[in-house]
Amino acid sequence: MATLSPWVVGSGLLQVALFVVGAPLLLGLMRTVRCRMEGRIGPPIRQPWRDLRKLFAKGRTQPERSTFFFASAPVVLVATTVVVVWLAPLLSTRVSLAGGSDLFAIVFLLLLGSVALSLAALDTGTAFGGMGSSRLMTIVALAEPALLVAILALAASVRSSSLSTIIVGTLHHPIWLATPQRLLSFAAFVVVVLAESGRLPVDNPATHLELTMIHEALILEYSGPDLALVMLGEQVRLTFMLGLLANLFFPWGVSLSAAGLSLIVGVLALAAKVAVLGIAISAGEVAMAKLRLFRVPELLAGAFMLSILAVLSALVIA
């Protein structure tokens, strides 16, 4: 990984472009699936893009007496998410920064975006902002350790915390996919993805009911281009989490060389895997109700338990 070939740099940039363009489309697809299953026609798949374009064209407003934190949070969110997408082994296992696909780096960069958003919500000084940020921190404090430990269980098989090494190792030993630690860590990972991206059993992205909202409460004061950036950041983040889930647990199609044809295969495989996962999540959401806020820690404690059991089984079986 010492020499950077143009292919590796190119694949990193392609990854970012693909995720930024594709994330709103994924959200549109998920909404369409949900609408169709509920017997509605729903907006076209490109609707989230239209919303973003409309918002970018508007002027900025900022609450009185809000400071630098409020103004910078959307940029921080988008920037950390883009860096994470650039660093992670999504299209190819060869990434632009040596050691950059380290799982700790990725998880903490994701956390930075959440922290920026919740500081911004506190900065507005409204009741909803404070409520939303306290709720988000409760969830994140429980979800992040579960995510870290779940990936650690996978890292234990390859003795490395680099995501690329984990994926390469899994591709060389497909048998690892049928081990208990994979099963447990997969279950924990799915719960964490739902919690982190504010999807259904934890948060309902389609409601502004003040008693239950988490994410919507945080971004209530944003408007215009800032709101567009926050929305884009969260969409890319959801897509990234699904991409990571797909590559860690179903790594087929990931390019090992980041060159030529294998990159095209990588793009197609990733798009297909992420689309399938997105459809599965929104289909699951149709049959699901939101959990009471006080039950959410139970759900996340369960995810944490599953991930610890995954690490323990990895140690026992190894």
Partner: protein, 220 residues
């Protein structure tokens, strides 16, 4: 992990599933969910017996697998479902130990089981024996359910978790106990469930509830 074969991986997967189901039984609150976890566990146990039987060419284990499916995955869950139907709002509305704390306890118990079985695993290196900690952990979680849950259904499930854990350890350590012993053990558990079901029905008729916490005074 470097040189695992497919049967070994599947064996690990099914014994891991037994432990996972025990954890899920602790995690879920609804009686229906808890019984569902127990059913999946029965299947996982049977699959473990099946894989061992195919791998080691022991026909007896295939019979055991069939017996396990019949009793632990079909008969017992059906009996438990009937008790659940007596008290549809049932489930652990008010467990003695709350759910997040029980999950932490389950992790600690698993850790204890894994550490405690280390010497056993080191004695005879071999794939089935390495998986015995999953069975021990299931036994400990079963005991925990018995202590920390107070509904009649959860109590039975706790007992059955202990039994399934012992069954898994027996399967993995001995690669199949004699059929007579297996038959005796399995049918014994079935009988216990039947007796407890009668007891639960009586309790429901007397108290209108399946909460063992209500059984505190003696009556004629």
């Amino acid at each position: 992990m470097k040189s695992t074969s497919l049967p070994a991986a599947l064996l690990a997967l099914s014994s891991g599933l037994v432990l996972l189901c025990a954890a899920v039984a602790l995690w879920r609150r609804t009686a229906k969910g808890i019984v569902g976890a127990l059913r999946v566990q029965g299947f996982a146990l049977a699959v473990t017996a099946l894989i061992l039987g195919v791998q080691l060419h022991i026909a007896l284990l295939l019979v055991t697998a069939g017996l396990l499916v019949l009793v632990k995955a079909i008969l017992i869950p059906v009996l438990l479902r009937r008790i659940v139907r007596l008290d549809p709002t049932g489930g652990e509305t008010d467990p003695v130990v709350n759910v997040p704390a029980s999950l932490v306890a389950a992790v600690l118990l698993t850790l204890v089981a894994f550490v405690a079985t280390r010497p056993l695993v080191d004695v005879v290196p071999g794939v089935p024996i390495t998986l015995a900690p999953f069975g021990f952990a299931t036994v400990l979680i079963g005991f925990f359910v018995l202590v920390a849950r107070r509904k009649a259904v959860s109590q039975m499930v706790g007992l059955l978790l202990v039994d399934n854990g012992i069954g898994l350890v027996a399967l993995l350590l001995t690669t199949g106990v004699p059929l007579l012993v297996e038959l005796g053990g399995t049918l014994d558990v079935l009988l216990v469930v039947v007796v407890l079901r009668v007891l639960a029905t009586r309790m429901h008729a007397e108290l209108g509830d399946l909460d063992l916490g209500a059984l505190q005074e003696l009556h004629d």
